[in-house]
């Protein structure tokens, strides 16, 4: 069964590969310009915060990120591109923000940073920036398989009062309109993003919860495994596409 599923995925992704377009392609030129230029991109304010936080040693046991990892530009190169990744200790996949918090708790004896906090988004966007321009490279890890399958099932499952699945809009109707907005393909290569609608930075989980809210479904809690499994499926779906984090989206 797993082999059939894998072959189906491969076939579908091959068919779609020629047509895979980042969310950037669905934005207006001025929003694209905002993303392209680091002096215009508001997300760079969060990157700057992350850059400062990387070297902070005034919390926990006094170790900074740099104490173990050194320079982020070299140490974190390509890291964001292969998340979510399997965490052996937890026995489940974790996303980049959760991994950062794990480091804080386990290695720095510091408190975990709240989800969607400026501090966590700062570190996340700074780390994600180090993968910019590289191909998304979700790992081929057999341990991730059951989580990936659940994530894919969730992608295709109808949900909420509006009874819509992610696939119905983003696989089958991308390019068409929902309200006055063009439906993008929902690739996650830009996260964390500065979203104009939020007027702030946010993670992929925040966006997923917005989508769930949009179809009037009950929201999986922030940090829940259900959301990480969806992130995992999206990362697989994005494999090979160019990392754009930190991106701007409407």
């Amino acid at each position: 069964m797993r082999i059939v599923l894998f072959m189906l995925c491969a076939l579908l992704s091959l068919a779609a590969a020629a047509q895979r377009m980042s969310g950037t392609a669905f934005m207006g030129p001025s929003t694209q310009a905002m993303q392209r230029d680091d002096s215009l991109n508001p997300a760079m304010l969060w990157v700057k915060e992350g850059e400062t936080a990387w070297r902070r040693s005034d919390e926990g046991n006094g170790k900074s990120c740099a104490s173990c990892h050194g320079d982020a530009e070299s140490a974190m190169r390509g890291v964001a591109a292969r998340y979510p990744a399997f965490d052996a200790q937890a026995g489940r996949p974790v996303n980049l923000g959760q991994r950062i918090n794990q480091c804080r708790v386990r290695q720095q004896s510091a408190a975990a940073l709240p989800a969607e906090s400026d501090a966590l988004l700062g570190l996340e966007s700074y780390v994600a920036l180090q993968s910019r321009g590289m191909p998304a490279a979700a790992p081929d890890d057999a341990r991730l398989q059951p989580f990936l399958e659940r994530g894919q099932a969730r992608w295709q499952q109808r949900m909420g009062q509006l009874n819509l699945s992610c696939a119905q809009c983003h696989d089958q109707r991308w390019g068409q309109r929902l309200g006055s907005s063009i439906i993008p393909q929902a690739h996650a290569t830009g996260y964390p993003i500065y979203r104009l609608e939020w007027q702030a930075m946010g993670s992929l989980q925040r966006r997923l919860r917005n989508c769930l809210s949009g179809v009037r479904a009950a929201l999986y809690p922030a940090g829940s495994l259900e959301l990480v499994e969806l992130e995992l499926y999206l990362a697989q779906r994005d494999r090979g596409m160019e990392m754009e984090a930190p991106a701007v989206r409407p």
Binding site: S39, L40, P42, M44, L45, W46, K48, Y194, Q199, A200
Partner: protein
């Protein structure tokens, strides 16, 4: 302390017109927006931006709630002499922040 990003050339020729780009993290809360409880959130914006070149004001802006959150400002000034450019943002709730940058002017 709000985060700021400032971009301008480190050196310029005397008389050259240089571009200055600024970004600052600030919610620019309009005073018209309801919060989660339905009550309107009080206004909290940057009201004034001033650029001084060796102490003399060369550009200033009066900002209103219609300016976007995390506002950017791009403007120009003539590179007259070497020295210090300072950038001051002031606003509601006694908000005040100043950043500076050095410029070397040759010729």
């Amino acid at each position: 302390m709000a985060r700021t990003l400032i971009k301008l050339p480190a050196t310029a020729r005397r008389g050259e017109v240089i571009e200055i780009r600024t970004l600052i993290s600030h919610p620019m809360e309009t005073g018209y927006r309801p919060g989660a409880d339905g009550q309107v959130l009080p206004r909290n914006i940057i009201r004034r931006f001033t650029c001084r070149y060796n102490g003399e004001i060369v550009f200033s802006a009066e900002l209103f709630p219609a300016i976007a959150a995390n506002p950017n400002l791009i403007f120009f000034t003539v590179a007259t002499e070497s020295g210090k450019l300072t950038f001051t943002w002031e606003g509601d709730n006694n908000f005040s922040q100043t950043e500076s940058a050095e410029i070397t002017v040759t010729g």
